[in-house]
């Protein structure tokens, strides 16, 4: 199926007519979506048609009632498919409510494409100039790289790309391939090993699902941190694959992650984590709320909590998600209040010490948040948080040794790679400024300054991606292929976490 979809998309890139191209892209997208269930496709098409009609109505007269109708068109099906089963599931087994709850299956990616549709309606309401054809809007809703788990796109970004003439670009192929490989490694290697453990049953999933209690204090911290990295590798890996695949065909999708664990404050974190959704929440929930209640000084704080609760609720109708949202809302409030206090009392710390303290606090608070996100229920979440707050629990270690080593190694590895990359990029910039431009060549004469030499080396290799990328990939694929053949094995595919939302 995926090969047919890729072929159709490739053909789409080659077709000179814009309409023909869009038809092929839409056919590829619908084909892939229908492979999950024809009923799902019917729902997606119906939603696309209704939203397009709402858009037309709003374009004629952008009134609040019309917008509300559009919102209802989107939120009612989402509530039916996503939240109703969770509400009915508490009924006694055998009752009609229970049976109904188990018969409702949410179309895959519904949370993502519903939010895309809503952003379109909001944009029109705010009188942004958008004039998609029905074909373009359907393609926007169903575009196959993003339909399952985002990134949540916006029409103003996608429309010009759907309309642009086909052009082959080696840079797209190079960057796209690199990102796909990067995503595959993050998802299928790092996330998988973190979840299942170095030895079977010694991973993060085991720490949350198999243990009913008895964690030590360090165990809970590492489970929180480890799950944060697991979620990052899983979803950022997915995003890399999706963004890279789209890039192979010339599409540039919005980014979803930008070194989130280097964020020194909760506010910065939310500009780097699941960016497409957090920006959606900022633009279409927080900003309108903040404007509506600007007369009251406390209102922005309420806005934070309300917005982040909606963010948490978006993941599903579970108390753990709601508490996760409220918790992050409160973190944003505390951060804002902390900033005001800092200004009021003129607290000054050396810059690096201040940054490190701020980063460390944020990192640990995020870990607590991830415990709420991952816990199976609130009882478990409170038990784990209670363990963190019990000094006596820090003398007790319940997890296997490999869990501690793997989690700490993953975290340190992440920071080492991220920091290493940032340093190399800064050295490259320095090299470009001092030597590259002057000499007009990328490879300089021997330079005494080692950072400039390393910057030059980095520039050299980044400019010649295929020189090393193709051989490295070939060697890895060769060894992996041989090992797979010898083992008579197949890859153990664990579902992408965000496809569950």
């Amino acid at each position: 199926m995926i090969s047919v979809v890729l072929l159709l998309t490739l053909m789409g890139r080659l077709v000179p007519s814009m309409k023909g191209r869009q038809i092929l892209f839409l056919a590829a997208s619908y084909l892939l979506y229908a492979s999950w269930g024809l009923g799902f496709l019917v729902i997606l098409i119906t939603s696309s048609l209704l939203n397009y009609a709402c858009g037309l109505a709003l374009r004629r007269k952008p009134t609040a009632p019309r917008l509300c109708l559009g919102i209802a068109v989107n939120l009612l099906p989402l509530a039916f498919f996503k939240y109703l089963p969770a509400l009915l599931d508490v009924s006694a087994s055998g009752s009609w409510q229970y049976d109904l709850a188990h018969q409702i299956i949410m179309p895959i990616g519904m949370s993502f494409w519903t939010f895309q549709a809503l952003s379109y309606l909001f944009d029109i309401y705010y009188e942004e100039e958008l004039n998609p054809s029905l074909l373009e809007f359907c393609l926007y809703m169903a575009f196959w790289p993003t339909v399952f788990s985002g990134p949540v796109c916006r029409l103003p970004r996608m429309l010009p790309q759907f309309r642009q003439p086909a052009a082959f670009n080696w840079d797209d192929v190079s960057t796209g391939s690199l990102r796909v490989v990067q995503g595959v490694l993050m998802k299928f290697v790092l996330a998988h090993i973190l979840a299942t453990g170095w030895h079977p049953g010694e991973g993060i999933a085991n720490g949350f699902d198999q243990m009913k209690g008895g964690w030590g204090g360090v165990d809970v911290w590492l489970l929180g941190i480890g799950f944060g990295f697991l979620l990052f590798f899983d979803f950022a890996g997915y995003s890399h694959i999706v963004i890279g695949t789209a890039r192979l065909f010339g599409f540039r999708l919005p980014e979803n992650f930008d070194r989130p664990f280097l964020a020194a404050t909760p506010s910065i974190f939310w500009t780097r984590w699941h960016m497409s959704l957090s920006f959606w929440i900022r633009d279409y929930v927080y900003n309108p709320l903040a404007i509506a209640g600007r007369r009251y000084s406390w209102w922005p704080y309420a806005g934070f909590v309300i917005s982040m609760t909606i963010f948490g609720l978006w993941h599903g109708a579970k108390w753990t998600y709601i508490v996760y949202g409220v918790y992050h809302g409160l973190l944003l409030v505390m951060h804002r209040m902390g900033q005001q206090m800092k200004r009021q009392f003129s607290i000054r710390l050396p810059r690096d010490v201040g940054w490190f303290l701020s980063w460390g606090t944020t990192f640990l608070l995020l870990a607590i948040g991830f415990i709420f996100f991952r816990a199976n229920d609130m009882t478990q979440a409170w038990m784990m948080v209670g363990t963190v707050l019990t000094p006596g629990a820090y003398a007790h270690f319940a997890m296997p040794r490999s869990f501690y080593v793997l989690t700490v190694a993953s975290a340190l590895g992440y920071f080492a790679v991220t920091a290493g990359h940032s340093v190399m990029v800064s050295w490259r910039e320095r090299y470009r400024k001092t030597v590259g431009e002057r000499a007009g060549r990328t490879w300089p004469r021997p330079i005494a300054d080692p950072t400039l030499s390393l910057g030059a080396l980095f520039e050299f290799f980044s400019a010649r991606l295929w020189w090393w990328f193709a051989p490295v990939l070939s060697v890895l694929v060769f060894f992996a292929g041989l090992a797979m053949y010898t083992r008579e094995a197949v890859i153990a595919v664990t579902p992408f976490i965000y496809t569950l939302f």
Binding site: G201, E202, W467, V475, L476, F479, A483, E488
Partner: protein, 440 residues
């Protein structure tokens, strides 16, 4: 004037430049410029292709060297091994039999499979090749002699001694110390006898019946004479023949022989690649990321070497297996007469034989066994011969129909049993063993 001052080389360069300008301005600009131009373009093309290919190959070698170095570093600072402390995490081998529904209700089961994995370590043992290394867990205990401990066994001069021989079925794969066949027999005999009873479990995984005979000989040589001897073997005799195409040999014969002879197959290029650290690293990583492909996904092909792939006839092999087995029986019979002990041979039940009403789980196990048609055929054939021969051997008892009246789950795979099944087998053995008149 200037031209006159040009050297010959400079003049040639200028001529070439002029001709290039002419060519550019000519109507053929952008087309191949005749045979000479064509040759030059083709040469440049080949040159760039060669350079590109050389660069990619060289970089692939550099990448391989870097990977090899990384693998070397990795293997030198490996992650800690699997947790040896049973209190930390209970992890089994991940086999299907661990997930048999019977174990879901047994609170010892997780610990048992965890300890089973840990107790797998074997050590060399004279004449028989191997026995388990000493191990002390809560569900599995192997003593210094490599013998699985039978709870309650009181071994002294006055004890009624029963030596039990066999492979993993007798050793107790799938059962804790207190639920193996010897353990059930120990309990049964204790109930029947006033004095002490000493049931010793000489069985070991993958033992064929000859190894049991040798173990018995070693006990007799040291003066440790039993009152009764029980052999519960045949499955591994058949399996070793299935592997090697020969009857009466060790299980995994080729592996054992190759290790002993330090034999090495001539290295193919694939072997050489597989011996690199890079392959080791990637293979290890893949082991964590992959699962075995379901049977049939490779078109039903199997690359296992068996008697069939060696061209050995199943009927001939079956006959040889049976005769070897009965030969061992006769040796034990002669020893029994000489040393004055009673002896009993029991043919273990198999999921593919008998008339037990199989549970859906057992039906699934049976289907999986029958997929290996050559093995299934061999077992079937050998057991038929044993049926034919058994009337001539009064101490040979078949357990094939032991579970015909049982509808509950008894098997955990093709031949190993739940503790309940072990209890049933022990009952049958108990019926066969004669107690001294004074004890009854």
């Amino acid at each position: 004037m200037l031209k006159e001052n040009l050297t010959g080389r400079e003049a040639a360069i200028e001529r070439a430049a002029n001709s290039a300008t002419l060519l550019k301005e000519s109507p053929w600009e952008g087309t191949r410029g005749g045979p000479v131009g064509e040759k030059r373009n083709a040469s440049a093309w080949w040159s760039s292709v060669y350079k590109g290919a050389a660069l990619l190959v060289l970089n692939a070698l550099v990448a391989f060297a870097c990977l090899e170095l990384a693998a070397l570093g990795f293997f030198n600072i490996q992650l800690p091994g699997k947790s040896e402390n049973p209190g930390e995490q209970l992890v089994g081998e991940g086999t299907a039999r661990e997930n048999v529904s019977y174990y879901a209700s047994q609170d010892w089961a997780k610990r048992y499979w965890h300890e089973f994995r840990l107790s797998r370590k074997q050590q060399f043992y004279s004449f028989v090749g191997w026995r388990r290394a000493p191990f002390k867990g809560q569900t599995i205990e192997v003593n210094e002699e490599g013998i699985r401990v039978t709870p309650g066994a009181t071994c002294g001069d006055q004890s009624f001694k029963v030596f039990m021989f066999g492979a993993s079925e007798m050793w107790g794969t799938g059962s804790p110390n207190w639920a193996t066949i010897p353990a059930h027999l120990q309990k049964g005999l204790q109930e029947r006898r006033k004095g002490p009873v000493c049931v010793v479990n000489f069985a070991e995984s993958a033992y064929v019946s000859m190894q049991g005979v040798i173990m018995l000989l070693m006990q007799l040589r040291s003066g440790n004479v039993p009152d009764a001897v029980v052999f519960y073997t045949l499955v591994d005799d058949v399996y070793s023949a299935y592997q090697s195409g020969r009857a009466g040999v060790l299980e995994n014969l080729e592996l054992v022989a190759a290790k002993f002879e330090e034999r090495r197959k001539p290295d193919t290029w694939v072997d050489r690649i597989k011996s690199t650290r890079s392959y080791g690293l990637i293979d290890m990583l893949l082991g964590k990321l992959t699962v075995a492909a379901p049977r049939g996904e490779k078109g039903g092909q199997t690359r296992v070497v068996t008697y069939e792939t060696m061209g050995v006839d199943a009927d001939t092999l079956s006959e040889a297996i049976a005769q070897d087995y009965l030969g061992n029986y006769r040796i034990v019979s002669a020893l029994a007469q000489k040393y004055g002990f009673q002896y009993h041979y029991f043919l273990p039940p198999l999921i593919t034989l008998g008339s037990k009403i199989l549970t859906p789980e057992e039906q699934d196990m049976k289907r999986k066994t029958e997929v290996e048609t050559s093995m299934y055929k061999l077992f079937d054939s050998v057991y038929r011969i044993m049926d034919r021969e058994s009337p001539r051997y009064q101490n040979l008892h078949s357990m094939v129909h032991a579970f015909d009246s049982y509808g509950s789950l008894i098997f955990i795979d093709e031949s190993h049993l739940t503790p309940v099944g072990n209890g049933v087998i022990a009952e049958k053995m108990l019926d066969a063993i004669h107690m001294p008149p004074s004890d009854k």
